[in-house]
Amino acid sequence: MRLNIHRYKVIYGLLILAIASGLVCSLIYGAATLSLDQVVHAMFSQGGEHSDRVVWNMRLPRAVLACLVGLHFALSGLILQTLTRNPLADAGIMGINAGAGLAAISVVVGAALLPFGSGIYSQGGQVLTWLPIAALTGGCITAILVYLVSGAGQMTPLRLILTGVIFAAVFNALATGLLALWGQAHTETVVAWLAGSLHGRNWLHLWILLPWTVLGLIGVVFCLRPLELIRLHDDQVQCLGVNIRFWRLVVVLLATLLASSAVAVAGPIGFVGLIVPHIARKIAPVSFKQQLMLTGGIGALLVMTADLVGRVSVAPFELPVGILCALLGVPAFLYLLRKNP
């Protein structure tokens, strides 16, 4: 027992160190490599020089945003895997990302059809501020639809996941159709967004996401015990005084809130929600609480690292973070799968 507590201290220490050094590297490296002095200067000055503005207005918010997005997707994945008792569940499989994406694309395309707008990026803040609301609404509507169609309170985890897969397919098809018909002007930006990208994200995006992060983390604290118990047999869960229908709905909505708010600012970054919970489970097989905390931390680290590599590896171009997450995450996942059977 004592050994375990000691082990967790070391693991958390390493994780915090890794995230901190990732953050510093994210500030130093990019299209132009800065010195540590320049970065320090930028952090404590009002941004007079060009390098100050690069660090303060671009790299810092983007790195922090990457952490939060990773935290969102990873936690949402762990919650959905626990709820459905299925190791392959995540917000992508469950149709939540597809629903959030469809809603966001509808807003982008819709805004372009209106006389005052021509797309999220050229339009700037106006459409952008609505995008998370649209994605959240789309994600929540999808989650509720999936929940109801799969039989609400009486649903079995398997039925829930199959219904999710169907909704994901339908909404992805609708999104593609929408783009093909009306989205010509934005195909490029939307496709980049659908691949999962943090390109050009700044403080505005961070402030849009942050309230949902806070709300999501509070939700996670309240859902921790019910989630732990939901892993047992349904009959036992209810006989322990847990209203399983209520908590299943709350937990689905929490996972949806986390995933679709992240989709709104960064697009549907795949694999994070699927892989990170497995890594956390391998590191802390016993305690669900530790798994939850590790999942959040590793998710943040993975997305931040993936974004950094994506920016640096083919500079001055960028690889979307979604692609890098898959490239970095999958080998790690396969290694862990083979290591302890």
């Binding site: 019910p226 047992l232 009959d235 036992q236 006989c239 005084g241």
Partner: protein, 271 residues
């Protein structure tokens, strides 16, 4: 007032499994449901736990219908061990037994000293104290069953429902579980309701027997009263001898299934 069913009809979706049943579960006794596969034993247990709303009639505890109890209030009265519980991957024995204290803690509450004491007591009662830090999935079937019972009694409810608690165990472990339940019944005045397949074990360990067939209650009473050769022939299609042993407990020895006897008769073979 004890747990009781009055003219209850039960089923899932549209299909009825139990047509009309009325039973009073005797307080502080061991009641065993026997009957062939698919006769509705599990369904009846589910309804006694308030997990299945009756289509007709009412299931009540202390004179109040179970639907009117909140799940939380009911958790202090009834605990249930399903037939195939599954332990979360990697969980250790102690953590699992601690889940039994959830009704006393709530969503954000931590463990009180009393919770810790009860968990230690439950593990001692079931003889699993030494296994506290072991992973549940690495234990043998008999040990796992004791862990589940420990979790259920840590809940400190007055009534414990068990769906075929001996099914996946070998002979020795089956007896261990039944002896444990008898001990809890005598020492803690725990009301036990369970389903069993082994009639000799049912007769040996129960105060009260409910014989079920095709969703109906055929008869009930003490083991010696409820299980007769006629019942065994009608309900189980088994031709058996019954011998009354010490403590007025019947003992059954099967001679063969009745189908086999019929077939032998047709083939002209005399047994």
């Amino acid at each position: 007032m004890s747990l009781m069913l009055e003219q209850v009809q039960l089923g899932y979706g549209g299909s009825t499994i139990i047509e009309d049943i009325s039973v009073v579960i005797p307080d502080k006794k061991i009641t065993t449901l026997i009957g062939p596969n698919g006769c509705g034993k599990s369904t009846l247990l589910k309804s006694l736990a308030g997990l299945l709303k009756p289509m007709k009639g009412s299931v009540s505890l202390k004179g109040k219908a179970l639907e009117q109890w909140s799940r939380k209030a009911l958790a202090f009265e009834v605990a249930m061990l399903p037939q195939k519980p599954t332990a979360p991957e990697g969980i250790c024995v102690k953590a699992l037994v601690e889940y039994g204290r959830f009704p006393y803690q709530g969503i954000l509450g931590g463990q009180s000293q009393n919770d810790k004491d009860v968990v230690a007591w439950a593990m001692a009662q079931t003889g699993i104290s030494e296994l506290a830090e072991r992973s549940v999935n690495a234990l043998s079937g008999g040990q796992q069953q004791r862990v589940w019972i420990a979790m259920a009694i840590a809940q400190q409810s007055r009534i414990l429902l068990l769906d075929e608690p001996t099914t996946f165990l070998d002979w020795g472990h089956q007896l261990e579980v039944l002896e444990l339940l008898t001990k809890l019944n005598l020492e803690q005045e725990l009301t036990v309701v369970m389903s069993l397949h082994d009639l000799n074990q049912a007769a040996q360990f129960s105060d009260h027997i409910l014989v079920m067939e095709q969703g109906g209650l055929i008869t009930e009473g003490s083991p010696a009263d409820a299980i007769s050769p006629k019942i065994l022939a009608n309900v189980f299609n088994v031709d058996a001898d019954v011998e009354i042993r010490g403590n007025n407990r019947p003992y059954f020895l099967a001679r063969g299934s009745i189908q086999a006897a019929d077939q032998n008769l047709l083939a002209g073979v005399t047994p």
